[in-house]
C-alpha cells in the first residue's frame, strides 16, 4: 500500500515538474497569483473601507470611534433622499452627492462614446476606403489628441472660450478678448464641452480599432454588392457597417468605461459651474467623508466589471485576429470627386484646431503678463526663463526652465514613466506569450481577463484603493507605490499588444527552436522578440507616454504636489497661476510628443500597434 502511495506522490511530483517546466504555464501561474493580489485584494480592501468609520469629520458625524463597522455611509449616500429643507427647497444629500453626479456621468459617457465613434470611425473610413487628399497629415496628426493629456483640450477649451460673464468670470479668453465673441455658459462649461472634449480625446481609439478592420477588409465584399447594382448608401449601411460592428462595439465599451472614470476634464470644465460627475465628487468626498467616496469608487468599478463582461461576451467567442498574410487583396478606393477637396480641407483645419491650436494657445498664455491682453507689449519670456520675478505677486521667482523644482519634477516623472513602461511592457509581453500559447484554457482566459481589469478601474478609484492599501503595508510608499500602481494600470494595453504580437507569430517558429534545444529565454530574446519587435515595443511605448501625462492615477498618492509635472500643473491651475500652468502644460506636451516621435522613429513602435490596430 505504501509503495502505491509513494508512486502516486512521485507521479504527481513529476507531472507538476513537467507542467511548471513549460515557461508558458509558469508565467500563467505566477501572474494569476500576482494579478489576483494586485487587483482583487485591493477591491476587497475597498469594500471593507465602505463599511468602516474613518477619522475626523466622518467619525464625528457617525458618532462611532474610528475603525468601527457602520452602514452609515451607504445610508447617507444612497438612501438619504430628504434632509429636510429651508425656504421650501428640499435638500437631498443622496441626490447631490450621488444620483445627480451619476446621471451626469452616464449622459456624458454615452455622448462622448458616440462622438468618438462617429468622428473616429468616419475619419477611419475616409482614410482607409477613399482617395482623400492629405491623408498622411491627417492620419499622422489624428493620434495627437490621445497622446496629449486629456486636460489639454479641456484647458484649451476653457482658455479659448471663457469670458467674464460666465463661470467664475475672472478673465476673458482668446475668443472674447481678440474677437469679441462671448460664448454662453452651456457651451463653455458642463455637459456639452465635457462630452465633446472626451469624445475628441478618445476618437483615436475608434480610428485605430475601426480603421484596423476597414483596412483589412477584402474589397471583394463590397465589389460583389456593387456588381449587383447596390447603391453606395445601401452598401455602407448593409455591408460596411455590419462588418465594423464588432470593432465599433468594442470601442464604445472602451470609451464608455474611460469616460466614466475621467477626472481631469470634468475638473476643469465642470467644477467651475458645479457640474459634478462621479469622479469629481469622489475626489471632494475623499477629504471629508472617505467612506462615501469609497462607495462611489466601488460603483465606478462595478460599471467597469459589467462592461468587461459584455465585451468578453461579444468578442470572446468570435475572436478574429487578422494575421498578416502578405497576400493583400486589391482595395478599391471610393472616389470622392468634388467632395474630396472640401472634406480634406475641413479635416485638416479640424485637426489643426484640435492638435495644433491648443499648443499655440498655451504658448500664448504662458507669455502674457496681464490676463486677457494678447498684445505684444504685454508679452514676456519671464515665465520661461526669467529670474528674480518678484514683481509678480504669484508663483515662483524663476521661469520654469530655470526652476530647480521643475527639473526635479521632470526627471522624477521621466523616471517613473520609464519604470512603469519597462515593468508593464515586459509583464505584458510575458502575459501575451503565455496566453497566446495556452489560449483556450481556463487559466489563460482568467489571466487575460485579470490583466485587462485594471484598465476598467477608474484611475481615481484605483488610487484611492492603493492609498488605503499603503496604510497597511509599510514599504508601499513613495516611488515604489507610484511605480506599482502605474505598472498595474497600464498592464492591460501592454498585454493586449503583447497578445496580438504573439498571435501573429506561427507557433512553429518557436517550436523549430525548441526541437534543437534552444532554451526559453534565448528563444524569446533571439527569435520571438526580434521578429515582432515593433509590435512588442509598442507595448512599452503606450505606458511610457500614458504615464508621463497621467494625473488622476497619481494625484492621491504623491507625497507633495511638486513631485510630478502633472500634479504640479494641477496645483498651479488651482492656484490660478495661469502663465506658469500653461508653460508647464506646454512642457509636458512637448516632452510626450518628443518621446513618441523618437521611439517611433528608432524602433517602429507606435501607438497604433499599442492599442491593437
Amino acid at each position: 500500500m505504501e509503495t502505491i502511495q509513494r508512486n502516486q506522490v512521485k507521479r504527481l511530483g513529476r507531472m507538476t515538474h513537467t507542467f511548471l517546466s513549460k515557461p508558458a504555464n509558469l508565467i500563467l501561474v505566477v501572474f494569476l497569483v500576482l494579478l489576483t493580489f494586485l487587483t482583487l485584494y485591493p477591491l476587497l480592501v475597498l469594500i471593507f473601507e465602505t463599511f468602516t468609520v474613518h477619522s475626523g469629520r466622518e467619525a464625528r458625524a457617525v458618532g462611532l470611534p474610528r475603525g468601527s463597522y457602520t452602514d452609515y455611509h451607504f445610508k447617507r449616500l444612497l438612501f438619504t433622499l430628504d434632509d429636510g429643507g429651508a425656504m421650501g427647497v428640499t435638500y437631498s444629500n443622496s441626490w447631490i452627492q450621488f444620483y445627480g453626479p451619476l446621471l451626469n456621468t452616464l449622459s456624458v459617457a454615452f455622448t462622448s462614446s458616440a462622438v468618438a465613434i462617429l468622428f473616429g470611425g468616419t475619419v477611419a473610413w475616409f482614410i482607409t476606403r477613399s482617395n482623400l487628399k492629405y491623408k498622411k497629415f491627417i492620419s499622422g496628426v489624428f493620434v495627437f489628441p490621445y497622446i496629449m493629456p486629456s486636460w489639454t483640450l479641456a484647458l484649451f477649451w476653457q482658455s479659448f472660450f471663457k469670458n467674464e460673464f460666465i463661470g467664475t468670470g475672472t478673465s476673458n479668453g482668446i475668443l472674447a478678448s481678440v474677437f469679441g465673441i462671448f460664448m454662453p455658459e452651456w457651451f463653455v462649461y458642463g455637459y456639452f464641452p465635457i462630452s465633446i472634449v472626451l469624445g475628441l480625446h478618445y476618437a483615436p481609439f475608434a480610428y485605430i480599432l475601426i480603421g484596423g478592420i476597414l483596412r483589412n477588409m477584402d474589397a471583394n465584399l463590397e465589389e460583389a454588392a456593387t456588381v449587383l447594382k447596390t447603391s453606395r448608401m445601401r452598401l455602407l449601411r448593409r455591408i460596411t457597417l455590419p462588418i465594423i460592428k464588432p470593432a465599433a462595439l468594442s470601442t464604445f465599451l472602451l470609451v464608455f468605461a474611460s469616460s466614466i472614470s475621467a477626472y481631469s476634464v470634468p475638473v476643469f470644465l465642470g467644477s467651475p459651474v458645479r457640474y459634478y460627475m462621479l469622479s469629481t465628487k469622489m475626489k471632494s468626498l475623499m477629504d471629508t467623508y472617505p467612506g462615501q467616496a469609497y462607495i462611489i469608487a466601488a460603483v465606478m468599478i462595478m460599471f467597469g466589471i459589467v462592461i468587461l463582461g459584455i465585451n468578453q461576451k461579444v468578442t470572446g467567442s468570435r475572436k478574429s485576429y487578422t494575421t498578416v498574410t502578405g497576400k493583400s487583396s486589391q482595395v478599391s478606393l471610393v472616389d470622392l470627386r468634388k467632395w474630396n477637396r472640401p472634406v480634406a480641407v475641413f479635416l485638416v483645419i479640424l485637426m489643426l484646431l484640435i492638435a495644433v491650436l491648443p499648443l499655440i494657445t498655451f504658448a500664448a498664455e504662458s507669455v502674457i503678463i496681464k490676463a486677457g491682453n494678447y498684445s505684444l507689449s504685454n508679452m514676456t519670456l519671464d515665465f520661461w526663463i526669467g529670474t528674480n520675478l518678484t514683481y509678480l505677486d504669484q508663483g515662483d521667482s524663476t521661469g520654469i526652465l530655470l526652476s530647480g523644482k521643475v527639473w526635479k519634477a521632470l526627471f522624477y516623472s521621466l523616471a517613473l514613466a520609464a519604470t512603469c513602461a519597462v515593468v508593464a511592457g515586459t509583464c505584458g509581453m510575458l502575459v501575451g506569450y503565455a496566453v497566446a500559447k495556452k489560449r483556450g484554457t481556463r487559466m489563460a482566459n482568467a489571466v487575460n481577463s485579470l490583466a485587462f481589469f485594471p484598465y476598467l478601474m477608474p484611475s481615481l478609484a484605483f488610487g484611492a484603493i492603493y492609498l488605503a492599501m499603503s496604510v497597511r503595508v509599510s514599504w508601499l510608499n513613495g516611488f515604489v507605490l507610484l511605480a506599482l500602481i502605474g505598472s498595474v494600470k497600464y498592464l492591460p494595453f501592454a498585454s493586449r499588444s503583447g497578445l496580438n504580437a504573439m498571435l501573429q507569430l506561427s507557433g512553429e517558429i518557436e517550436e523549430a527552436g525548441q526541437i534543437v534545444g534552444i532554451p526559453w529565454w534565448k528563444r524569446m530574446t533571439r527569435i520571438i522578440f526580434p521578429i515582432q519587435k515593433s509590435s512588442l515595443l509598442s507595448g512599452y511605448l503606450l505606458p511610457l507616454v500614458s504615464c508621463m501625462r497621467e494625473l488622476s492615477l497619481f494625484v492621491l498618492l504623491v507625497p507633495t504636489s511638486n513631485t510630478l509635472l502633472t500634479t504640479m500643473l494641477m496645483q498651479y491651475s488651482e492656484k490660478g497661476w495661469a502663465q506658469f500652468g500653461s508653460a508647464i502644460n506646454l512642457l509636458i506636451i512637448i516632452v510626450v510628443l518628443l518621446i513618441n516621435y523618437l521611439v517611433n522613429k528608432l524602433t517602429g513602435a507606435s501607438i497604433d500597434k499599442g492599442i491593437g490596430g
Partner: protein, 370 residues
C-alpha cells in the same frame, strides 16, 4: 539505431478523440509514412512522438528510452529526445540568414566554430544551396526555403527525422523532384524517417511501410505494395490508388462456387481463392481499374460513358446497366463516347469486403453471371 514503439497512445481534446489507442512499431532506418485524410490524427501523432504535443494516455519509447508514459508521469521535453522536425511551413527564422538559420542549433549545442562551419558547408553542398548562405529566407524561392529547412533539421544529426507534409507547399513538378531527393537523403543520412502526408502517391513512392489512419484509428500498417494489392479494409482500398478502386455493392448469396452478388440489376459471381469463413449479408466487391481489361471481343458488353486520355494512360468509365466501372488502359488510346466495348476482369484480383465492418474477407476472381 532507434526503434520507436507506441503503446495505446491516445490524444483527446476535450471530448474529441484525435488519436485512438494507437499501437505502432517503427524499426530503425525505416521510412514510415503516416497517411490519411485531413483530421485523421496523423500530424497529432507525429507531434506526440516528437514531444511537441502531450498524449492523454499511453506510452512512447524511442530506442529503449521511455520518453512518455501517462501512468508514470514521464514526459521528456522535445529537445531531449534527440529528434529533428521539419515543419509544413518550414518555420525559417525570417530575421536570420540561411547560414545563421542552419548554425543556430549547433551554436546552442556548443559545437566548436570550426565544426559548425564544416557541417554547414557539408549540408549546403549536399542540398545545393551553397550560394544562398548570406541570403534571408524572404529572398529565396519555395523550393530553396524548403532545402534550407531540411539542412537546418539535419544539422545536429538527429537519430529520427520527423517531416510534416513538407512538400505540400511546392508546385507539382518541384514536388516530384524533391521526392526523389528525399528518398536519396534517407539513404545517405542513415536515419529513421517519419513522414506525414495526405497524398497517397507520395506515401506509395517514398515509404518502406505506410501507416494509414482514419478518425484517429490505425487502418492498416504495411509496405506500400502489400497495402495496394491487399488492402485490409474498404477505407484503405478506396484511399490507395488513383483512379480509385471499383466497388460493387449488393446483397450476397452463397453459391456452390462462391458468392453471388446482385447489384444494379447485374449479377456478379465471385470465386474465392482462399477459404471464406464468414458469409456477409451485405457485401462489397472491389476491383482495381487496371484489372478491368478492355478487349475487342469475347468479353462482357458495356458502353463508354467517358474517356480521359492523359498520354500515358486513358481512364475510361464504362456503364453496365446501372453499374459504373472505371478502367485504365495504358498507352495513348482514345474511345468514342457511347461506343460499345467489351471487357474482362483479370483473374484473382477481386477482393470481397464485408459492408458492415468494412474488413476484407477474401481474394478471388470476378465474373459476370450469365
Amino acid at each position: 539505431m532507434p526503434e520507436i514503439i507506441l503503446t495505446n497512445v491516445t490524444k483527446r481534446f476535450g471530448k474529441f478523440v484525435a488519436v485512438d489507442k494507437l499501437n505502432l512499431n517503427i524499426h530503425s532506418n525505416e521510412f514510415i509514412t503516416l497517411l490519411g485524410p485531413s483530421g485523421c490524427g496523423k500530424t497529432t501523432t507525429l507531434r506526440m512522438i516528437a514531444g511537441l504535443e502531450t498524449p492523454t494516455e499511453g506510452r512512447i519509447m524511442i530506442d529503449e528510452d521511455v520518453v512518455f508514459d501517462a501512468d508514470e508521469g514521464i514526459n521528456v521535453p522535445p529537445n531531449k529526445r534527440d529528434v529533428g522536425f521539419l515543419f509544413q511551413n518550414y518555420a525559417l527564422w525570417p530575421h536570420m540568414t540561411v547560414k545563421q538559420n542552419i548554425a543556430f542549433g549547433l551554436e546552442n549545442l556548443k559545437w566548436p566554430k570550426k565544426d559548425i562551419d564544416e557541417r554547414v558547408d557539408e549540408l549546403t553542398l549536399m542540398l545545393k544551396i551553397r550560394e544562398f548562405l548570406d541570403r534571408y529566407p524572404s529572398e529565396l524561392s519555395g523550393g530553396q526555403q524548403q532545402r534550407v529547412a531540411i539542412a537546418r533539421t539535419l544539422a545536429p544529426k538527429p537519430r529520427v527525422l520527423f517531416m510534416d507534409e513538407p512538400l505540400s507547399n511546392l508546385d507539382a513538378k518541384l514536388r516530384t523532384d524533391m521526392r526523389s531527393e528525399l528518398k536519396r537523403l534517407h539513404k545517405t543520412t542513415d536515419s529513421t524517417f517519419v513522414y506525414v502526408t495526405h497524398d497517397q502517391l507520395e506515401a506509395m513512392t517514398l515509404s518502406t511501410r505506410i501507416c494509414i489512419m482514419e478518425l484517429g484509428k490505425l487502418m492498416q500498417y504495411a509496405p506500400p505494395l502489400e497495402m495496394y494489392q491487399s488492402p485490409a479494409n474498404l477505407f484503405v482500398a478506396d484511399f490507395m490508388g488513383n483512379p480509385s478502386m471499383n466497388f460493387i455493392e449488393g446483397k450476397a448469396e452463397k453459391t456452390d462456387k462462391g458468392v453471388c452478388l446482385l447489384s444494379g440489376g447485374v449479377a456478379f459471381a465471385f470465386t474465392p481463392s482462399s477459404v471464406l469463413d464468414a458469409m456477409p449479408e451485405q457485401a462489397v466487391i472491389g476491383i482495381r481499374p487496371e484489372h478491368v481489361l478492355i478487349s475487342d471481343e469475347g468479353g462482357c458488353p458495356a458502353k463508354v460513358y467517358s474517356s480521359l486520355p492523359s498520354g500515358l494512360e486513358t481512364t475510361i468509365r464504362l456503364s453496365l446497366g446501372e453499374i459504373m466501372l472505371t478502367s485504365v488502359v495504358f498507352g495513348g488510346m482514345d474511345f468514342e463516347l457511347d461506343s460499345d466495348v467489351s471487357f474482362n476482369f483479370v483473374p484473382n484480383q477481386a477482393i470481397l469486403f464485408d459492408k458492415g465492418s468494412g474488413n476484407a474477407l477474401a481474394r478471388g476472381s470476378l465474373q459476370l453471371s450469365k
